[in-house]
Symmetry: C2
Subunit: 149 residues, 2 copies
């Protein structure tokens, strides 16, 4: 059992402080909700979930907070579809890749150690610092394949 380096809240708070920013209620509310969503989400869904829970957080604040959550490694952009970005929280989860069906739009997750290996080796060979990786397979799931092509 490994010692966790801290909850997402501690990490975010530390990050905010280290940057000389202010740890506001809105930022924490957004962070908490992001980690309550155990699936991909977009700004609109996050906004509506907060409103439904009675929180009055503006979309502007969401748009301002997401880049911070990404910068400190808690959240990741997953894919851009239907004219807007889709996100997921990644802290506490194993690295994983995505399969997206171009027909029914279903998204499946999977993981494969070779992907991190490739990134690690690239980093070593070219002296870059890896912040994150993204692997996507686009195609047709077995169900959609059967229905047509």
């Amino acid at each position: 059992m490994e010692r966790s380096p801290g909850s997402e809240i501690e990490i975010f708070r530390d990050f905010i402080k280290r940057k000389g920013l202010r740890y506001t209620q809105e930022r924490e509310i957004i962070l908490r909700e992001v980690f309550n969503i155990h699936d991909h989400f977009d700004v609109d869904e996050l906004y509506l979930r907060l409103r439904n829970k009675g929180y009055k957080v503006s979309k502007a604040s969401i748009y301002r907070t997401l880049p911070l959550l990404i910068e400190c490694g808690l959240v990741q952009e997953v894919y851009h579809e239907d004219g807007h970005m889709h996100y997921e929280h990644i802290y506490g989860h194993e690295p994983h890749a995505h399969f997206r069906c171009l027909s029914c739009r279903r998204v499946e997750e999977f993981s494969d150690d070779r992907l991190e290996e490739v990134a690690r080796e690239y980093a070593e060979r070219y002296g870059v610092e890896v912040k994150m990786t993204r692997f996507e397979i686009l195609g047709y799931c077995s169900a959609c394949r059967g229905r047509e092509g």
Copy 2:
């Protein structure tokens, strides 16, 4: 030496015909220019290049044609940045992945057979049909790493 299955123009024409669409001058002009750009491009750059060469093709036509080029496998969406999508032509090129520096925004290409392997195995295991894959490493290049973090 392998026999090429046809030029991008033949492929596109066949694809258009097979779908019962019309092979127009605009579509071919756009296709030709896409294959003249040996780098990533966005809609604006493509549009300006065509205008500078004296072609009068509207942005609407570019926005309508790109999905067709993608559907027939000649072009790929590479990444979404600065509020818009970036593309590249892929026909005739080996599959490759991208490293993007989060600081200077430089993009490097590299390839690794393991990536296709991962996709192939996923496809086999789950019975999906792979249309394309995308692997991205985001981080800081060696130069930007030295300058700061």
